[in-house]
Amino acid sequence: MKFTVQDPCQLVRKSLGDPIAEDLRFVVKSVVGEENLIDMQPNRSNNYCCGGGGGFLQSGFPEARRYYGRRKLDQILETGAPYCITPCHNCHSQIHDLSEHYEAGYHSVHLWTLICLSMGILGENEREYLGPDLAELGL
């Protein structure tokens, strides 16, 4: 099972930089296994915004927002991973919406969901964003 991860602009490029992007990868690799993380290109401080930031999700321009998000969608699909980890609320909403809208088939998950799943403590009602392949795991 492969995973990719979105570097939130707010967390990485706009505030704590590449060191926090490395911390993020340390956690993600610990959770999914080192060989199962496939990075998007470009990444870390050079990452592309998903299109959910700056109020775009609420500004009433859904067509423009999804046009913007096509770049991110293509980058996610290029990894071939069926899961995109989104450690930011805006990223999660936008990347989830892009997959639904373009019927891309990947899943968008919070980091906390996967941490708990990997520890075997994810409850039945906490699996909204998991695909059918992981939804029953460890229940």
Partner: protein
Amino acid sequence: MSSHVIDVEPGKTSSFKDKVMALLPDGGNLNLCLTCGLCSSGCPATGLEDMDPRKFLRMAALGLDDEILNSPWAWMCTMCQRCIHACPMKIDIPGLIANVRKNWPVENQPKGIRSSCELALKNDTCSAMGATEEDWQFVVEDVAEEVRETQEGFEDLQAPMDKEGARFFLNQNSREPVTEPDEMVPLWKILHLVGADWTYGTKGWAAENYCLFCQDFEKWEKIVRIKAKAVDDLGCKVWLNTE
């Protein structure tokens, strides 16, 4: 990307760009553009509204103030700062965009952003979805109680509220308590298992601040101060923002 020719009045200079330069550190380097286009080639908003970052900046430099001040593109740039990251001259195009947004009359600003900004000021919770202190406390306690009753190993799970002197003050995007409260649980479990000394607050808990997006600095600051006071009033050392 341009589909039509823009007439530039000879001798016209930008008053708006100069105003913005006075506000940004080092003038935002707005006069240093080499027109290389690295900003535009790596910007997902390029092409929307027949605009791109380089074009927007060039139009500002040419004094086309009416055009840039009225372009909805200011709301389609997410101010992600990748253009600055790519720019050899570190030109603060997002800073220019922010000030264009600020210049929009309040009544013409996107309603979803403006109304969320206003709603956050109705309660000390700062919730842009209008969640009250009572709603918040009820949902958190209700969800925590259910986990304690139904999930093995979490009989002692706490989601502390207004715990004075806790090390971490955690805030939460309104979307969770309002629309999908079960999504808060994994976070509580992680904090529980690592033995974190944390608390929520009844006031100032909502992570979002839409006044930033419409660049209403006064209201943005008011919200930040309410939140910071909530942290200080409980004597917490670290303010954890989940968004």
